[in-house]
């Protein structure tokens, strides 16, 4: 019984860590631009597919991974420059549709550049399961958890300690004031998109050895990441991490203890329940809705 619980917990943590990385991407872009980027899942796809592509071309992982992350970041910059920046001041729904259009465009592009097949990356350090308190864990799960933790710490340092990070936070709080204080808001925006694309790509690469990658892998992960970001409180970094982990564990526990057919529905219901009591998520800012 308890071994079973540990198994569910470890699985939930791994899945949740991926959701958290995607959710962080949502939050960073939201903070910088008030845009919900529905193309966030496509960064996950680009990360995985580009790594597979480079690796197939004979590039070693150590180079293929940074190249893939850079490619995703470049796409993120392009998205900001050609789709989001020209639509400044448009309504929330309009921006949502622009980013959905972008995600359809990127998926279509991926089927042309690559293909519609599923692909797998070799696990970074083998396939031999690790036994932990009666539960088993793949080494790749440790990579997922470790890298996610490292990224969260690095982001905390970046936003809390560096000038650039503080500039980004300032922009998210008050764009005009930040501009007056001499922050180049356009650069901050571009950086936010690149950073969030890179995060998505890393999530896509980490998960590819476990759950594979394909041109449409981003649809579901994007949706789950959005749910995690909302659950935690949109715009809150800590919220995104907490939201991701909670969502991952809720799904696995429902699958394990209640009903595997309805596990996603149960997780969503739980999220709705949280929103009814805490309308800005678990760790969202309260009462600062702009009128």
């Amino acid at each position: 019984m308890s071994a079973q619980f540990v198994q569910f917990l470890l699985t939930g943590l791994t899945v949740g860590a991926i959701y958290a990385l995607v959710a962080l991407g949502f939050s960073i872009i939201y903070n910088a631009s008030q845009v919900i980027n529905f193309a966030q899942g496509e960064f996950v796809m680009i990360g995985g597919m580009a790594t597979v592509w480079f690796a197939a071309a004979g590039v070693p992982y150590a180079a293929a991974i940074p190249l893939a992350v850079a490619a995703a970041a470049a796409v993120g910059l392009a998205l900001e420059k050609f789709a989001v920046e020209p639509a400044r001041g448009a309504s929330v729904v309009t921006l949502i549709i622009i980013t959905i259009g972008a995600s359809i465009f990127l998926r279509g592009l991926a089927t042309l550049i690559w293909d519609k097949q599923l692909h797998v990356l070799k696990p970074f350090s083998g396939d031999t399961p690790i036994v932990l308190g009666g539960a088993t864990l793949l080494p790749q799960s440790l990579w997922v958890l470790g890298v996610s933790l490292a990224i969260v710490l690095a982001l905390a340092w970046f936003f809390g300690r560096t000038l650039l990070g503080k500039a980004m936070l300032a922009t998210s709080n008050n764009r005009l004031a930040a501009q007056l204080a001499g922050i180049r808001v356009r650069h901050v925006l571009a950086l936010a998109f690149a950073l969030s694309a890179a995060l998505g790509a890393i999530a896509g690469i980490l998960i590819a050895p476990i759950a594979f990658t394909s041109y449409d892998v981003g649809v579901m992960l994007g949706l789950k990441g959005f749910a995690a970001a909302i659950l935690g409180g949109m715009g809150s970094g800590a919220g995104a991490v907490v939201g991701g982990i909670v969502l991952g564990i809720a799904e696995t526990m429902s699958a394990g203890y209640i009903s595997s057919a309805y596990k996603d529905a149960i997780a969503l219901l739980a999220m709705l329940a949280v929103l009814f009591f805490l309308p800005s998520g678990l760790l969202g800012r309260r009462g600062t809705e702009r009128v």
Partner: protein, 331 residues
């Protein structure tokens, strides 16, 4: 009399009626009728959704759920339990309205992106139930639906369906236009402007929002029921998150807060995939690019943007001819 007719509402209604009456001249065979009917059904959903998104300013990424409740409610009652299709439709519509009313209050308290996520979750939950409970719904492979029969007479011919859907679309538009002009409509627009300000002057924000949410759910549900009976077959693909997105895209594409825009958006995005088929592998990219391009260059949607353009041109022409007072802008 002439002055009455010259209101944008009546003029628009007349234009739409004329279009529906004349369109069959260009419909060469049942395939064209098929597409025209789907345009009409989508337009009905969009006119309703536009009340919520365009006028009340409340986003919904879950309306495919209400479409699905209508479609499956009607399909299950009529096909599995042998109800008369019209009674099944009525029951499904009431169910959609009741669900919308029940969840409306807590959900519509949420704002912006939280509301988007909550409605999205609602739609996904409906999808999951439909796709899991295959004893009733046939699961992901879908189910056959009885034709729309009134008395002993079954409506099957697409050419008849066309007139039924056309008439319903006109009724849907007429009702929506009336709602917009009613005190509720004015309250809604006040909400869209500033919810706090509206509440200060005594508008019961939540009540109005819930009401328009229910109305839009009813529109979606009726269109869903009709779609199920028309197609004779229904699958959960019509209840997915992607279909919800498609519906919102139609509304925004045509023009938010423009009832005729909703119709134009539905027409454009329903026919687009049919037109794009020769592009094969490039279809997705082009569709994505069209969505992005339209929204970037016409952020208010096609109809309002073109209207603004026309007004400006006419003003410029009028100004060139003789200095005249600026006429009021069109609705």
């Amino acid at each position: 009399m002439a002055a009455r007719f010259a209101t944008p509402r009546a003029g628009g209604m007349a234009a739409l009626a004329a279009l529906i009456a004349l369109l069959p001249l260009g419909l060469r065979n049942d395939y064209f009728y098929d597409v025209a009917i789907l345009v009409g059904l989508n337009a009905i959903v969009c006119v309703g959704l536009n009340l919520l998104v365009g006028y009340a300013g409340q986003i919904s990424l879950g309306h495919a759920g209400f479409f699905g409740i209508g479609a499956y409610g009607s399909a299950i009652l009529a096909t599995r339990y042998g109800w008369p299709p019209l009674a099944a439709m009525l029951a499904a519509t009431l169910a959609a309205a009741a669900i919308a009313f029940a969840v409306g209050r807590p959900i519509l308290r949420l704002r912006g992106h939280y509301l988007a996520m909550a409605t999205l979750a609602l739609g996904v939950i409906v999808y999951m139930v439909i796709s899991t409970e295959d004893r009733f719904t046939g699961g992901p492979d879908g189910m056959t639906v009885a034709p729309l029969a009134i008395g002993g007479w079954a409506l099957r011919d697409p050419r008849l369906w066309y007139w039924v859907v056309g008439a319903l679309l006109l009724a849907a538009v007429w009702f929506a236009l009336n709602l917009i002009d009613s005190p509720t409509g004015r309250a809604l627009r006040a909400l869209h402007g500033s919810e706090v300000a509206a509440e200060v002057v005594g508008v019961d924000a939540t009540r109005h929002k819930v009401m328009v949410f229910v109305v839009s759910a009813v529109y979606a549900s009726i269109a869903g029921s009709l779609n199920a009976h028309f197609s004779g077959f229904i699958t959960p693909a019509k209840v997915t998150f992607l279909h919800s997105i498609e519906l919102v895209t139609m509304v925004v594409f045509g023009g938010m807060a423009s009832t005729f825009g909703a119709v134009v958006g539905a027409a454009a995005l329903t026919t687009l995939p049919q037109v794009l088929t020769p592009l094969k592998d490039y279809e997705m990219m082009v569709l994505g690019a069209v969505m992005m391009g339209t929204m970037i260059f016409m952020p208010r949607g096609v109809v309002p943007s073109l209207q603004a353009l026309l007004t400006r041109r006419r003003d410029a022409a009028a100004a060139a001819a003789a200095p005249a007072p600026r006429p009021g802008d069109g609705q």
